[in-house]
């Protein structure tokens, strides 16, 4: 239990310390085919609140080490003022692509 609490706090601190910036000027982001598809879904559904995965109306995503299943859970269920996106809005294969894109974005180049 102690180890779990420590891990949770460590992850929270990591989330607060990492820069969320990725962006084109800081280095080209090479996407897979699935990531490229996911990029379009991200722009349509997520970008307005999480611009480029950085903070905006909503919090930054690029510096949060969330695993894929948690991203899916949050997209489907929403949380706080983030609305839910059911399957009729983002189809399952579209969500797969979206998660792939978010992971590739998270691992992209960092600013100098």
């Amino acid at each position: 239990m102690r180890a779990t609490i420590f891990l949770s706090i460590l992850l929270l601190l990591l989330a607060a310390c990492g820069t969320p910036r990725r962006g084109e000027p800081f280095g080209p982001l090479t996407l897979s085919a699935q990531g490229r598809e996911g990029e379009e879904h991200f722009m349509r559904h997520c970008h307005q609140c999480h611009p480029g995965g950085e903070g905006g109306l909503g919090p930054a995503l690029n510096n949060k080490p969330l695993p894929g299943f948690m991203i899916r859970l949050q997209v489907r269920r929403g949380i706080g003022y983030m609305p839910a996106f059911p399957a009729k809005t983002i189809a399952p294969q579209e969500l797969d692509a979206l998660v792939a894109y978010m992971k590739e974005l998270r691992h992209g180049e960092r600013p100098q």
Binding site: T4, L12, A15, E54, G56, L57, A60, Y81
Partner: protein, 491 residues
């Protein structure tokens, strides 16, 4: 062991969610800072993709909002003469000489803001959004003689007359923003300053609309301590009936209109916009506009709506005041933290179904003036370069981080946007927040006639310190972005 793992996972989820909880965190907009003049200007503090270069062309401008060029490549800028925060200076049309010094061509008394300028057929055309006298489209000759082509535009409220843009068809296109945030005059408009000047001013639809019967009871800024009830498309304190028909008029609010260069034949192009600030034609002749979306303020706050880039199709209704993009505001996704529920429709039936936007841009980014690249020399032909003025938190609503303060590139066929010019560093925001001499509030972007240089108009410092906007004079900059060889693909 299984129980401990489950508790650990729940704790993990709880901690992760806390770090982003909108309700718990304070606002961190880009204007929520302090500033001591003079503004530092240093192009090295701005990052662009490899192969692109930015330089300051002119500095010390006051509230610049637009740029244009004559056939000889001469560069001209308009200064607004008005800023949110109720600051009135003098609107001016300036020629910028190669050394960056301005020469006044024309001025506009107290009729600001001048929100944009274009050059066509040997004349300048200026969008005069006069906060005090109503909007006009002006024709100004190279010697500074002015003539109003169109007047009585609905420009005394929150948003103004915008553009104008000379179309390939010979018409002059311009935008007209709405008086209110979402259709209802309220206390927020008193904070803007115009309600006290024009207590009967309100939005005017472009076509007949039938009301759903929603009215809004608020405090009364004219009689503090009392209440007033106001309906849509009506003066403050005027309730409206269910089924009441509001007759459409031209000119109207929330529209793109066009007029002949001699001022004749004013006509509606499309309506249902909120603030169609930027207008540009793509290389293949399609008209696009940027449309600033709803704020989380006033009698009918609307939460979570990103600015939109629209392709404009004549005769189309684009959704204001009851839609965002394709989505009705009655959709659960628009539940408002302020209301505790989603906004109710103001119209008994929508006049149409808005199309899908070409792109959805960040909430509160204030995506404004833009242009399309037409030159292989610059690259990204057919893609839009949009100046993002930046958030005005908390007046427009809370943000968890600064939004905008950059130039973005948009692939309109895919709806994907990329940062193009941003301030250097690990965080986003204006230079006044981050330090350094980079971008403050880009408000317009326009390619010169060669297509090889993108000029970016930077409005300058505008703070928001809890008492509304506080702009700073003489902090505006005109930037120029050009490309060195070998850069600029198409993605």
């Amino acid at each position: 062991m299984a129980i401990s793992m489950r508790r650990g996972a729940l704790l993990l989820c709880f901690c992760a969610s806390l770090s982003g909880c909108y309700a718990l965190r304070g606002s961190s907009g880009g204007g929520e800072t302090t500033f001591t003049p003079p503004r530092q200007v240093n192009a090295a503090d701005i990052v662009l993709p490899d192969g692109y270069l930015i330089e300051a062309v002119a500095t010390g401008l006051t509230f610049p909002t637009g740029v244009t060029f004559d056939e000889a490549g001469g560069v001209y800028v308009v200064e607004a003469g008005y800023s949110y925060g109720e600051v009135f200076t003098t609107p001016r049309l300036l020629r910028i000489d190669p050394g960056g010094a301005p020469t006044e061509i024309a001025s506009g008394g107290k009729r600001g803001p001048w929100t944009g300028v274009t050059w066509s057929g040997g004349h300048f055309y200026v969008a005069e959004g006069s906060q005090l006298e109503g909007g006009r489209i002006l024709r100004i000759d190279p010697e500074g003689m002015q003539e109003a082509l169109v007047g009585e535009l609905s420009s005394r409220g929150d948003h103004h007359t915008d553009g104008p843009l000379a179309g390939p068809d010979g018409w002059l296109y311009f935008g007209q923003g709405t008086a209110t945030n979402s259709g209802v005059v309220g206390e927020d408009n008193a904070r803007f300053g115009w309600l006290q000047r024009f207590p009967n001013f309100h939005d005017v639809p472009c076509r007949d609309v039938t009301l759903a019967g929603e009215n809004f009871t608020t405090g009364n800024p004219f009689q503090p301590g009392t209440k007033a009830t106001t309906g849509p498309f009506a003066p403050f304190g005027t309730p409206m009936e269910q089924g009441e028909v509001i007759v459409g008029e031209i000119p109207c609010s929330g529209a793109v209109m066009r007029v002949r260069p001699d001022g004749s034949d004013l006509e509606l192009v499309a309506w249902g916009f909120r603030n169609p600030f930027g207008l540009a034609f793509s290389p293949d002749g399609r008209l696009f506009v940027t449309d600033n979306s709803y704020d989380d303020r006033g009698s009918r706050p609307v939460f979570g709506t990103g600015d939109l880039l629209w392709e404009v199709r004549p005769g189309t209704w684009y959704g204001w005041p009851d839609f965002h993009g394709e989505h009705s505001l009655a959709d659960k996704r628009f539940d408002s933290p302020a209301l505790g529920k989603k906004p109710e429709p103001l119209l008994a039936a929508p006049p149409g179904r808005p199309p899908r936007p070409a792109a959805i841009l960040p909430v509160h980014s204030s995506s404004n003036g833009f242009d399309f690249s037409r030159s292989q020399a610059f690259g990204h032909v057919g893609q839009a370069f949009i100046a993002q003025f930046g958030d005005e938190a908390t007046a427009t609503g809370k943000t968890l981080a600064p939004v905008g303060y950059k130039v973005v590139r948009v692939n309109v066929s895919r709806g994907v946007s990329y940062d193009f010019a941003v301030n250097r560093g690990k965080e986003n925001g204006p230079a006044s927040l981050l330090g350094g001499g980079g971008l403050e509030r880009p408000v317009a972007a326009r390619f010169d006639p060669s297509g090889e240089n993108l000029y970016v108009v930077d409005f300058g410092v505008m703070l928001h310190q809890g008492k509304g906007a506080r702009p700073v004079e003489k902090t505006g900059v005109l930037w120029r972005i050009s490309r060195q060889t070998g850069a600029g693909g198409n993605r």
